[in-house]
């Protein structure tokens, strides 16, 4: 194809700009990885972006992180919370989506409104907090797992997908005497594996990265997920919450920056390792979500 001079310039500018965007997206993450294996003293004095590990490479930071039992426990907590929250959310999302996709349900429209309305209006932060409080959930694992785990938006995406299953398929099974539970388990779920994994991924990413819930509902440090420790280390830059004895505090202050980057790395590593492989499902999820009925 013949390109005019103007179009060639346009192309060049385009490639240049896009490369720049890619660089901007990856540079901060690269900085964190390099910083996490840098020399701690040099790192403490450093204020600019790290493109290559400062001084000699060291895994000392990681050793220290993995011997800090609070961080290890927080990591375990996060894994438990993500598993439980995602399971509960998936259960409710699938049930809701199936119910709303059933044609000929007398209460379908009212139920639809009942759920959609919660996306437009909510009681707000404080009344929700009071409900959780009155249920006696404060400072328990339940406050982390149950409130706010289900997203109506995700439920609607799944409903759209469930509704697109051909009626003939369901009717045939119904004639064979299949009940709703059988339909859901034997036909709807197996034929919607793609959307189900997409929604599960949405929940997993969201829960892995969540911190605010725990910050308001939980004081007990034993229950902290990784993100909350990260907040203390990265944002508040405090050592108070690390429950170290005084010797440790000194040692910690010397390697504070190093530890910070190491914890960031171990917190983002699972997502970084997985996302290039699941991104196409994410794209699919966004697409289903953008289709209006």
């Amino acid at each position: 194809m013949f390109l005019s001079k103007g179009e060639k310039t346009l192309n060049a500018v385009n490639y240049l700009f896009l490369s720049l965007v890619a660089f901007t997206c990856i540079a901060p993450v690269w900085h964190v990885f390099c910083a996490s294996v840098s020399n701690p003293q040099l790192l403490n004095a450093n204020t600019s972006i790290v493109f290559w590990p400062l001084g000699e490479w060291t895994l000392g930071g990681y050793q220290q992180v993995f011997s800090t039992k609070y961080i290890v426990r927080a990591y375990a907590n996060t894994v438990v919370y993500v598993t439980l929250t995602t399971s509960l959310a998936m259960l409710l999302t699938i049930l809701g989506a199936y119910g709303l996709s059933c044609k000929g349900l007398l209460l379908r429209r009212p139920l639809n409104f009942f759920l959609t309305f919660t996306m437009l209006f909510s009681g707000g932060l404080i009344p929700t907090y009071m409900v959780v409080r009155n249920l006696g959930m404060l400072d328990t694992i339940w406050a982390i797992i149950i409130p706010g785990c289900v997203s109506v938006y995700n439920m609607m995406i799944m409903r759209t997908s469930f509704s697109s299953i051909p009626d003939s398929l369901l009717e045939a099974a119904e004639i064979d005497g299949a009940e709703h539970f059988t339909l859901l388990l034997k036909i709807v779920i197996p034929s919607s594996k793609a959307v189900i994994s997409v929604i599960a991924l949405f929940y997993i990413v969201q829960n892995w990265n969540s911190w605010f819930h725990t910050a308001i509902y939980v004081r007990q440090r034993e229950l902290y997920p990784l993100q909350l420790w990260l907040r203390d280390i990265v944002i508040s830059e405090s050592t108070a919450n690390l429950e170290l004895d005084s010797g440790d505090v000194n040692q910690f202050n010397q390697t504070r920056m190093l530890i910070k980057y190491c914890v960031i790395v171990i917190s983002i590593l699972p997502m970084m390792a997985v996302y290039p492989f699941v991104q196409k499902y994410f794209v699919k999820g966004v697409m289903i979500g953008s289709i209006k009925e």
Binding site: V21, S122, G124, N209
Partner: protein, 310 residues
């Protein structure tokens, strides 16, 4: 007349229950969940009209009507909070929308697939990083001595942590958000762009329209419905500025430009104070404006562009 219309309804309900009771049974936990965690808090809004005491509970606390609201509207923070909420929201829309659309348009111009795939994959990366870490990185890159801070120092003559300077807070907030969501946000537009009929471009090309004209006359109109839908959705959360992020980034030094209604509610009710009634009232004010915004945006869009959410 009334008799006749009730009778069939009753029959219909009976038949519906007989045929679908298992579906209702499945929906039961879902409905219960939303009653407890979405509708009960809506009932809790009553707290905003009371002088709520935990000991007395919602039913016995003293009813004070609109006192909390008048207190908020006449408080010295009201103007600042409303201004920051609106300005940050507007800045976010004005920057994030065009930049995301531009990014999608540019990606769409790349004929070389591997390059396109690589850039796209890399651009999703920040989306998977947690808010806490993003804010940590923001702190890192805006601290005194960092490249950005030194660059800004050329103009202000000062070496400072930009995050403690109220002048920069809103821009830092908006642009770190764009950084995190650019790739992910572009997905929808890219999808809409690929759905445009290629013959349109060919015809335009034969007519002598160059690339920029094609983008202006074909690409942009082609994705306009998508842009409108995204805009309505965005307006639907206009007042609920990502306050989790504000809480991570702000400090008393920047309250002047960083404190928004939702972060203020959090502070007075759950962190520095425990004024539940006042917080509930302010929260209600915020939710109502938000509801009003999304309903009007939907209505206007339905009239003007025939695109709407419902």
């Amino acid at each position: 007349m009334a008799q006749r219309s009730i009778q069939p309804l009753r029959k219909r309900i009976k038949r519906d229950l007989r045929r679908n009771w298992k579906v209702y049974f499945m929906l039961l936990p879902v409905v219960a969940y939303f009653i407890i965690f979405a509708y009960m808090p809506m009932g809790g809004i009553l707290m905003g009209f009371e002088n709520y005491r935990i000991k007395l509970g919602i039913l016995k606390s003293k009813w004070i009507g609109f006192d909390n609201f008048t207190r908020f509207f006449t408080s010295m923070y009201f103007g600042r909070l409303l201004r920051n909420t609106i300005v940050i929201g507007l800045k976010d829309i004005l920057w994030a929308f065009p930049i995301t659309i531009l990014f999608a348009l540019m990606l769409n111009q790349v004929p070389y697939r591997p390059f396109l795939r690589t850039v796209q994959t890399i651009s999703y990366l920040p989306y998977f990083i947690s808010m806490v870490v993003v804010c940590g990185l923001v702190k890192d890159f805006t601290q005194a001595g960092s490249a950005i801070s030194r660059f800004m120092g050329l103009f202000s003559g000062k070496q400072e942590s930009l995050l403690t300077n109220p002048t920069y807070f809103q821009e830092i907030f908006v642009f770190s958000g764009i950084w995190q969501n650019l790739g992910y946000g572009a997905i929808v537009y890219l999808a809409a762009l690929t759905a445009i009929n290629p013959e349109l471009y060919e015809a335009a090309s034969i007519d002598g329209a160059h690339k920029l004209r094609q983008i202006w006359h074909i690409s942009l109109p082609g994705i306009l419905p998508t842009i409108v839908i995204m805009l309505i959705l965005r307006i639907g959360s206009f007042m609920n500025i990502n306050y989790q992020k504000i809480l991570l980034l702000y400090s008393p030094a920047t309250y002047e430009t960083s404190d928004v209604i939702t972060s203020y509610v959090y502070r007075i009710s759950l962190s520095e104070g425990s004024d539940f009634s006042y917080g509930t009232a302010i929260g209600l004010f915020n939710s109502l404006i938000n509801l009003l915004l999304v309903v009007s945006a939907n209505q206007i869009s339905r009239r003007v562009t025939e695109t709407s959410l419902w």
